[in-house]
Symmetry: C2
Subunit: 362 residues, 2 copies
DNA sequence: TTGAAAGCGCTAACAT
DNA sequence: ATGTTAGCGCTTTCAA
């Protein structure tokens, strides 16, 4: 025996066949005599035998691995707070079930090349993280064979993919309702990255609620951002040089809200005294940086967890592919960056709470 | 032909042997007649053939995959800013070289179980992310066979592992020197997590420079933290209730500095007017949150990149295992949370710069 | 220029 | 209770 010990080595040492060794090491000892099992087990132990998972995968036609695929547009994982939380949820489901995770970060937009990396037999299924509009990940010819679920993007129905996402529409609606309840009638909005479905969904919800509540929509207060903090700062610059200002601004995510607030403060516009600002997502780092951002919390960890669970079901249930869609509700978290509208400053407000949920508005 | 097309299907369709198809698809067309190569290529194309990477790995005895292993102590990847940056660097090196990444996050401290997940033939090598003191990842019996490099922990020499890390000692020394140059003679310190080697290295450098410069060390100003933001806040609480206060505090990382500053401001202690605070690491999110934290920048992305590079060299160079150690220098970044010591407030200071490097002090 | 044959290390019918 | 056999899909000598 040379190199790493194989099953054959174990079998030889235990004086039995390879099959026997295989069965016993897979926990089917009850099929054999006590002492045979013992001999195999100790042989394996003594040799420091570890089953070769590649050979096992080939024989079983199952890899016990799933792929987590980042859209090529978010090439750097670092700045993607969303992905971190989801990944944690995925790991927490998969790790105890002995599934491996392959992190796939294609850098190209060529769909065939991307899918060659994904669907080459090395994984049993894949979770697509926030595929954007026009992403190669969404070319159906490719994902039609491998079990796949998408998270972080609520796709239009024609993409027949199981998907899990936050309910952007309902959550943003809650937030807007709540801001309006604070007495604001002059409300601005910072839009997210135009390639993300969520950006459109959040904007649409904003516009709808404003309209339904009869609050005037002023297009000059609706600014384009890209979900990054810098774009929030730029939006602040653009907004603050206007003659008329809103009393509140809702950003489509926390990062932009943070950039926006920094810029406001740099220009000596007090938040929330002069201008209220709300974010969306309740990201971990925003919480700990003393901003006390009023925002919408939703459980990204759970999204990852559920996505992994759903995927395993699809993999194990050898049959049907029910393209389901799960939307996780969000909750408005009242902290300190949204104040009652100036004219109504004396009206009683919802009690603000720090690090505990504010009123859920669903 | 049923199911996914295999090499055999391609060969049949092209009317040649499996060997021929294999060779041609691996780019050895020059061995064959022009038209044979063409037939194989188009057959593959038409069938949508994709080589099965599991079978290929088994035959080649190479997986073209490497493992990125998180120490069980940092089970949740979310809050580990360090890991994100390093991971990005790793990905950027490995992705273009067609290596796959397996993300391994053992939840147990049983070394044998941990290594069974890592070294089971599914990867060609592993990068250990910030193994802590006593980590199962460091049990040498296991890592002795698989090529492995450690990052984020500068291990004592007895761990014979190639490793890449920031030069904690020199970088912290620079920072302390710089703070002393600002005229501070009353300096506190917040220690990092006691299971991290870096925490000890940073503390040791602090003590050494203080001693060398003849600045008195006051143990009551040296507080235990754990690298988390909350521990910084707690340290502030403990420090601020003392009768005598330092004029500056150095935290062993940014997160603690942030927590510390939040708490100071909450207690109306002005930073940096009353108390200067420096961090360490220059984390991405700290930079964008308007704190203007004076800290030490170092290139974690590069650490990941180099680690991947080094690992591939070890894998490819079938021979020697030179347990090298690379230490990346850090740079003091002067922003706005450290002011000259009150008594010296009129002395000229190093020009503060925002988002550009301050003076390097090495 | 091409192909036959022997594996890689393991699993899983199917005997016995 | 145990072993034989035939793969899994590919690579790679080696021979033709």
């Amino acid at each position: 025996m040379r190199g790493k010990p194989t099953l054959r080595d174990v079998a030889e040492r235990a004086g039995c066949s390879i099959t026997t060794a295989s069965n016993i090491l897979q926990g089917r000892s009850h099929l054999y005599r006590e002492d045979t099992a013992q001999r195999v087990l100790s042989a394996a132990q003594e040799l420091g035998y570890r089953p070769n998972s590649v050979a096992r995968s080939l024989a079983r036609r199952r890899t016990a691995a799933i792929g987590v695929v980042l859209d090529p547009s978010h090439a750097r994982i670092t700045h993607n707070l969303y992905a971190h939380d989801v990944l944690d949820g995925i790991l927490s489901y998969l790790e105890p079930r002995d599934y491996d995770i392959r992190l796939i970060t294609p850098r190209t937009h060529d769909a065939a090349a991307v899918w060659r990396r994904i669907d080459n037999g090395s994984i049993d299924g894949a979770i697509l993280i926030a595929p954007v509009i026009g992403s190669p990940l969404l070319e159906w010819q490719h994902y039609s064979s491998l079990p796949v679920v998408a998270v972080g993007s609520t796709l239009p129905d024609e993409y027949r993919l199981p998907q899990i996402d936050i309910d952007n529409d309902a959550a943003m609606a809650s937030l807007v309702e709540w801001v309006i309840q604070q007495g604001h009638r002059a409300i601005g909005f910072i839009k997210g990255h135009p390639l993300h479905w969520s950006a459109h969904q959040r904007e649409r919800a904003f516009r709808r609620v404003m309209t339904v509540r009869g609050v005037p929509l002023r297009e000059e207060w609706i600014l384009q951002g890209d979900y990054g903090p810098e774009s929030g700062a730029i939006a602040a610059l653009q907004l603050l040089r206007q003659k008329e200002l809103p009393t509140a601004v809702i950003a489509a995510n926390d990062e932009m809200a943070i950039g926006f607030i920094q810029q406001c403060r740099a220009m000596e516009v007090a938040v929330p005294e002069v201008l209220s600002v709300a974010g969306f997502d309740d990201t971990y780092w925003a919480q700990r940086l003393g901003l006390q951002l009023t925002t919408v919390q939703h459980d990204r960890y759970q999204i990852g967890y559920l996505a992994a669970q759903m995927l395993l079901h699809h993999i194990e249930a050898t049959g049907e592919h029910l393209p389901s869609r799960i939307l996780i509700p969000g909750t408005v978290v009242v902290r300190q960056t949204v104040a009652p509208a100036p004219a109504l400053a004396s009206v009683p407000t919802a009690s603000a709470s720090i690090l505990t949920d504010g009123g859920s508005q669903r």
